[in-house]
Symmetry: C2
Amino acid sequence: MQKKTFSDIDCAIAQTLEQIGDGWTLLILRNAFHRMRHFDQFQENLGIPTNTLSNRLKKLTDSGILERRACAHDRRAYEYRLTDKGLDLYPIIVTLFQWGERWYSRPNGPRMELKEKATGLPIPEVKVRNQDGNPLSARDVQVIIGPGGGEDATNLVKFQKKTA
Amino acid sequence: MQKKTFSDIDCAIAQTLEQIGDGWTLLILRNAFHRMRHFDQFQENLGIPTNTLSNRLKKLTDSGILERRACAHDRRAYEYRLTDKGLDLYPIIVTLFQWGERWYSRPNGPRMELKEKATGLPIPEVKVRNQDGNPLSARDVQVIIGPGGGEDATNLVKFQKKTA
DNA sequence: TTAATTAGCTTGCATTATGCAAGTCAATTT
DNA sequence: AAATTGACTTGCATAATGCAAGCTAATTAA
């Protein structure tokens, strides 16, 4: 039995999923966006087993999504912080959140609300939009093979044409 | 050993991850957005074990993300199609794709490109934006507890304030 | 009109990964 | 000096995964 790796699927989504395509990993990242930084904080808040947490944090630091740095005030302690690469995951985290709110809402309303710090105005839903800013559905968009597209990409795109 | 369920974490992201927080599941969905519909097509394209595929498709249909319907022309065959709930995952799929392209790009350029069907113009990157359409980073956004927020949400939001 | 082939699965088994509890170890606190 | 804390490891039972093979009804080929 081989370990599954999505890395050899030559598709950007597969690459992403190889790094963060796992429930615990994404919950850790969610907490990191809430400025959580310490091992025991993640453990307590998520109820994740410590060995699993350790593995996930290691993988996230290895892939440059989190950075592990020693704390100045306590030499036992380490901080896990989002790198630029990690911060760049923000749209993914927000879209996961918004879909969950849309389809698994609480009767009283949203569990959390996002506001722009500068103005206090609510953040509109993140959508795929055209250049004019109008929202598009999946069926308003066509996928074409790009210059870096290999066999896997070609297969999928071809596939789409079959039925389009 | 109990099965892990994220459902009891009262957070929209955890709810989402309970349904689609898994690598194979997201790859199946990616393919579904490319209009892939049949068991053997998923199997062949992804190289996923058939029992795993079967489980994932069952879960996705149970949660109303895919719909399993008999085919008219062949009574052995079934089609798995995205429901409205499934189509609504589009921003998640696109953000996963775009992050992968940004951080795991091919030397020649993007593997795929998205264009608006109506105009042929490229789709701009999906970002979190304010009401004026200007992109925001995670640190430009503040999270406040909403009316449906319970203990879990409160803990996380409080947490954020600690360091903010 | 019998014989392949196909679509969509199940089943069995070996191997990994996960969840849980307990333990380690150095650095703080009490 | 003793207790506690932060960040982990280790061991073990259980669950999930990967792989191959088989199964069944429907369709196509000979």
